[in-house]
């Protein structure tokens, strides 16, 4: 910006970052929409607490083994009920501290959901965009592949892949990523097909802008809303499916993961040792619930019929 134009704009009460301010105001409007829904606020608060727990895990519950994701074993205190000094939420059959598992399990879950949702969202968005933009036989081939993936139930498919690769938490992440990208491809393709019909895309073509620019500036920004909502919902669902897989033994034994803990504790429920399964189970429930609440709220707040009006 030259000095003259800068000062002239200033004189009329506008600064160089007006565009930035206007865009921020729009984002703020979406956040306001989110905040006006009590269920969404509850979801956001729970997510915030769990994120804090994941981030500050090394300080809240200090690890005493070289691998902090392995449950520490206190063989002197097995099957202790909640309230035992040093083991606030009790211990498991093998002397694992349930509180430690709950706290470090949030870290495992966060890793799982970020890696799975991040990779599937990017890959699915790329594949769906190519299918929608190129069309023709490319679209046909990609969508038939997607159909094959969608014809197998998510859980069964992920289970088969993870079982084939052998029990490890990394394999669970990989299996879920392989299974879940197709949803994003589907959503993105539908969005691209719809948005590329809009007059503003033709207007950009008349100007002579490049195809890449039209995609990045016109199509993608107008297409991402449903992808964002799906990603938020998946942040919760992924942990649910991941816990199911580790519950049936597809993660390493002894890892600080909620599904593994539920699995370790379930044998004791009949004998009255309810705590080892209940607390991690509650965490899975809260995690899935909170992301679903926020996802639903986001869908309403980003509704194109109400957004920005």
């Amino acid at each position: 910006m030259t000095d003259t134009s800068q000062s002239r704009i200033d004189a009329e009460g506008m600064t160089a970052d007006t565009a930035f301010r206007v865009r921020m105001r729009r984002l703020f409007g979406v956040l306001q929409g989110l905040a006006s829904n009590p269920a969404t606020v509850i979801g956001l608060v729970i997510i915030g607490l769990m994120l804090a727990m994941a981030i500050f895990a090394p300080w809240i519950s200090e690890p005493n083994s070289p691998d902090p994701y392995q449950m520490p074993r206190d063989w002197g205190a097995v099957r202790k009920p909640p309230g035992t000094p040093g083991h606030l939420l009790g211990t498991t059959n093998e002397g694992g501290d349930v509180l430690y598992g709950v706290i470090w399990g949030s870290r495992t879950s966060l890793q799982l959901s970020l890696m799975v949702v991040g990779s599937t969202m990017i890959f699915g968005t790329i594949i769906g965009s190519i299918a929608g933009l190129v069309g023709g036989w490319v679209d046909e081939v990609l969508m038939r592949i997607v159909d094959v993936f969608l014809s197998i139930p998510e859980l069964i498919f992920a289970l088969a892949i993870a079982a084939m690769l052998g029990p490890s938490f990394g394999n669970i992440i990989f299996a879920l990523a392989v299974v879940l990208w197709v949803k994003y491809a589907r959503i993105m393709r539908a969005q691209v097909l719809q948005i590329k019909q809009h007059d503003f895309v033709d207007a950009a073509r008349v100007i002579g802008d490049s195809k890449l620019n039209i995609y990045l500036r016109d199509i993608l920004p107008n297409a991402v809303t449903p992808v964002t909502v799906q990603a938020t919902l998946d942040m919760g669902n992924v942990v649910l499916i991941g816990a199911t897989l580790s519950f049936i033994g597809l993660a390493e034994a002894g890892i600080a993961e909620w599904g593994v803990l539920v699995s370790e504790g379930q044998a004791g429920i009949a004998s009255g040792r309810w705590w080892a399964s209940t607390f991690p189970g509650l965490m899975i429930f809260l995690w899935a619930l909170s992301f679903n609440l926020v996802g639903d709220g986001l869908r309403d707040a980003l509704d194109p019929r109400t957004e920005g009006r």
Binding site: M1, T2, S5, I9, E12, M14, T18, A19, R21, V22, R23, R26, H198, D199, F200, D202, A203, A204, R205, V206, I207, G208, D209, S210, N213, R217, D218, P221, N222, G308, R309
Partner: protein
């Protein structure tokens, strides 16, 4: 027009030559092409510097499709749009590199729906500044000033820079679209029904703005519209389209004074005119526009024309169309054995029904012109043989006064026609 004096090469901007745009109709699991919608079916005209050409017709006549072909948003199936680049006429769909960019800059478009044609996530400065950025016409330092300049030319101002499209009224949004189209200083702008979504008072403002800009910048407009009162105000020349073809073309005033094609006449009669005699009855066109996938042979307007003559290209389909509307007849028709478009045997479910048809076709029940055009009519049991003469295409031909119309009737015959 083609018959007009050879245009000055440097005066000509665009030359539209025999442009056709057909869309395939696909059917079945294999997506086999079963026919074509002939949206534009052989249209030619020129656009010269500083003039406004009005492209008018009913909805579905192909005018918007043609506008999109001219703006290079769609490739023609046949024929081409030729662009005058430094005295050389070249087809726009064959331009490459620099030449393609030069055409792109010089031919802009304003769309009908101002809301849909502006990206809802972009601010006015992004929208109007975008063409400048694409061609590196503005640096980040002077972009704001350039955009403000453009906004001021269309009656907006600096205070509108950082607003979203939804914060404007329809008329203001159309001004933004016009500012965007002006940014690259084009030679020609395709205006696709730019005012039909606006209130009448706002319409007038936008039309006046367009007129002022044209005078200032020596712009050429292709004004696509169905609104005759708007083109009368705007256009120097008119191209009247019907079912993908040009029915009539010429100077606007001359066409309004004496239309040479019955379709133009009907179109103008269908428009209530404030200045006209209040006693003259306003009446719409009768009948529906035929299916553009199977347009009528001969003159495309003969199915709805009150002046139709035996020489207008009657065909088997006309009989079938008439049967469709005749009560108690169509359900007895079991098949059409077509030899050509002009000769066929119509099979009925009984000799009685066939006899009824051959009687009806000889009577006053069918249009007189169709009856007269029938070369053969044989009753053969439960079949009726019919044959018409193939009159060929009825193309645009020059009239004595130098104007063009696609009609077998002379201007005097069209003019002397009094509605009964």
């Amino acid at each position: 027009m083609r018959a007009a004096a050879e245009p000055q090469a440097d005066d000509l901007i665009l030359s539209i030559r025999e442009v056709k745009k057909h869309y395939p109709i696909r059917e079945g699991a294999l997506q086999r092409v079963v026919g074509h919608v002939r949206a534009v079916d052989g249209v030619s005209f020129d656009i010269r510097r500083g003039e406004t050409v009005g492209l008018v017709g009913e909805s579905g006549c192909g005018k918007t499709t043609l506008g999109r072909v001219i703006a290079a948003l769609a490739d023609p199936t046949e024929g081409g749009v030729h662009y005058n680049m430094d005295g050389m006429m070249s087809r726009i769909d064959r331009l490459e590199g620099k030449a393609a960019r030069a055409f792109r800059r010089n031919c802009q478009m304003v769309f009908q729906d101002s809301f849909a044609s502006l990206n809802p996530r972009h601010l006015v400065i992004d929208l109007v500044g975008r063409p400048l950025k694409v061609y590196n016409e503005a640096t980040s330092a002077n972009l704001i000033e350039r955009v403000v300049e453009l906004l001021e030319q269309v009656g907006l101002g600096r205070q509108h820079l950082y607003r979203y499209p939804h914060q404007f009224s329809g008329g203001q949004r159309q001004r933004i679209s016009i500012a965007r189209a002006l940014a690259l200083n084009p030679e020609v702008i395709v205006l696709d029904e730019p005012t039909s979504a606006l209130d009448v008072s706002v319409q007038a403002q936008i039309l006046n703005l367009l007129n002022d800009l044209q005078k200032e910048r020596n712009l050429a407009y292709l004004f696509v519209t169905h609104d005759l009162s708007v083109v009368r105000h705007m256009a120097d020349r008119l191209v009247v389209m019907y079912l993908g073809k040009v029915a009539e073309a010429g100077e606007t005033q001359a066409i309004f004074d004496s239309p040479h094609h019955p379709y133009t006449r009907e179109l103008m009669a269908a428009k209530p005119d404030l200045e006209a005699d209040a006693n003259v009855e306003v009446r719409g066109l009768e009948g529906n526009v035929p299916d553009p996938a199977r347009p009528p042979r001969g003159c495309r307007f003969h199915t709805r024309c009150e002046l139709a003559t035996p020489a207008c290209g009657w065909e088997v389909d006309d009989v079938v169309r008439w049967l469709e509307d005749a009560p108690g007849m169509f359900e007895h028709l079991v098949g059409v054995e077509r030899q050509t478009d002009f000769a066929a045997r119509l099979a009925f479910d009984s000799e009685e029904a066939a006899g009824l048809l051959s009687m009806a076709v000889r009577s006053e029940q069918v249009p007189e012109a169709m009856r007269a055009a029938m070369r053969r009519l044989n009753l053969d049991g439960d079949k009726v043989e019919i044959e018409f003469e193939d009159v060929g295409e009825i193309g645009l031909t020059a009239r004595d006064d130098g104007r063009m119309a696609a009609c077998v009737l002379s201007p005097e015959e069209v003019a002397s026609w009094k509605r009964t």
